[in-house]
Symmetry: C2
Subunit: 259 residues, 2 copies
DNA sequence: CGGCGAATTGACGGACGTCAACTGCTGTGG
DNA sequence: CCACAGCAGTTGACGTCCGTCAATTCGCCG
């Protein structure tokens, strides 16, 4: 429950916190909990009031939305990401359910203290606005991805993005169950299987969670990745120091670490 | 080009600006332009650097995304809304192109001065964060709408939302061409026609841009509107003063005034 | 060993996109 | 004033993509 100083430093290094005054940061973590959750734990249900800002320190988590007994995954989060920031800022009810996919370490910071810190520390308030901007743009990319691309195109782009995020080698490991991936990409598990089958012509080989891209150029020609949709290919950051805030926020899933 | 004081007051009254210090606000509008554009003008192209924060004062505008020669409408904006805020905050390239649908009056505020104002005025920075949060949540609703509902369900919900936004009477006027509506709802114009046809069984009558809802209860049973997707039905604002920031931002289209 | 759930495969149906033809409106120019 | 071109909207036919249902296989864990 008390935080290790290693973890404190990881949090302090987040874009969200690194510009905050030391005093602001201390106040924020003073009333914070670091908690371990097993896989499959629901942290927060859609529609519930939000009392905490969450920070995923270790593990894997998922944000999902529901309607009419149907469910969809809006994002898969990797460490280190914050989530549910927008609801915290507005003190509003959650629009998505948050669930752990793996055993996870999660830092919970009082929402009330976040709102107070923003009013007292302009640097922190700016950082919150920047974080939200990155999340917002991640979602814009998501919507474009969904509305403009077909199912196999979405999968192809996902694979290319994962490839670079896993070091650029020809073979990559899916970070979670295929059913979660299917939901993230906006299709059924059955259709994801077929989408993988479609991509065999483009050099995609599947073996359980392990996927190999034998003909990346052919796959790329199908996927047509675009810097205005796929956040992993950003131009050479002409304005230094920025850009990577947006990148980090968008690193998880096809899309963004959504707040 | 010089702003009328009427317009200045309308801008000042926006949630984004009403908490800003007078001095901050004066600096912001000091270097701002108020400009009139004819219908169909492209204000900003996808991929371009963003130099201004835009405020739609009068008229109607549209944000669209493109990929592989396909185009989709991400939002339709009504006065008074800001747009392209997120790109301004990050000083990043636009992810969407902005186009006027009708003749419009648009206020353009220097992006540089917005970023400076945030650093100097914590109240303004908080307001920016709140605005972005509302926009973000609008987009979350959009994604859920897209991924969880079928085409006629999206249309039905759009109609019910428009109905309340136009005073609650049985008949409403579509604010723009049906082709724009189709694109906003994620379908082709042909399919929008068919979706309207499907809804005749639920008391929906179409006559050009005029739509009448004869059996709102039946339509509602089909649409299953949900407060976690459809921003027009918010609970009774237990915490006063907030909530309507989110509502305003989400009032345009099925979805949000996207920034 | 037995059972459960994830993943795959096939068959089927429905939803949606595409193409084409037709209507009706509007603005233009002879 | 009317003829005509151009575009939005509608309708029909058709094909494809995708979801649903069912059966099967496989791996994991009790």
């Amino acid at each position: 429950m008390p935080m290790r100083s290693v973890d404190i430093e990881r949090v302090r290094a987040l874009p969200l916190f690194q510009c905050a005054a030391q005093r602001t940061f201390d106040n924020l973590i003073a009333g914070a909990f670091l908690q371990k959750f097993p896989a499959g734990t629901t942290l927060l249900m859609e529609g519930d009031p939000v009392d905490f800002l969450y920070v995923l320190i270790e593990g894997l988590a998922e944000l999902q939305g529901t309607w009419n007994d149907k469910e969809t995954t809006l994002a898969v989060l990797r460490p280190v990401s914050t989530f549910i920031l927008a609801a915290v800022v507005l003190d509003a009810d959650a629009l998505m359910t948050a669930r752990t996919i793996e055993r996870s370490d999660i830092l919970m910071i009082s929402g009330e203290s976040v709102r107070r810190a923003m009013k007292e520390d302009a640097g922190f308030a700016v950082a919150v606005a920047e974080e939200l901007s990155g999340c917002y743009r991640g979602l814009v990319r998501t919507v474009k991805n969904q509305k403009l691309r077909g199912a196999s195109e979405r999968l192809a782009n996902y694979l290319l993005a994962e490839q670079v995020s896993q070091g650029g080698g020809p073979t990559l490991i899916l970070p979670h169950e295929k059913r979660v991936l299917a939901s993230l990409l906006g299709m059924t598990p059955e259709n994801l299987s077929r989408a993988f089958a479609n991509l065999t012509d483009y050099g995609v080989t599947v073996n359980g969670p392990q996927v190999t891209l034998l003909r990346p150029i052919a796959l790329d020609r199908l996927a047509k990745p675009d810097r205005l949709i796929d956040s992993h290919l950003q131009p050479s950051a002409a304005r230094v120091g920025m850009a990577d805030r947006e990148c980090r926020a968008s690193a998880a899933g096809t899309i963004g670490a959504l707040n």
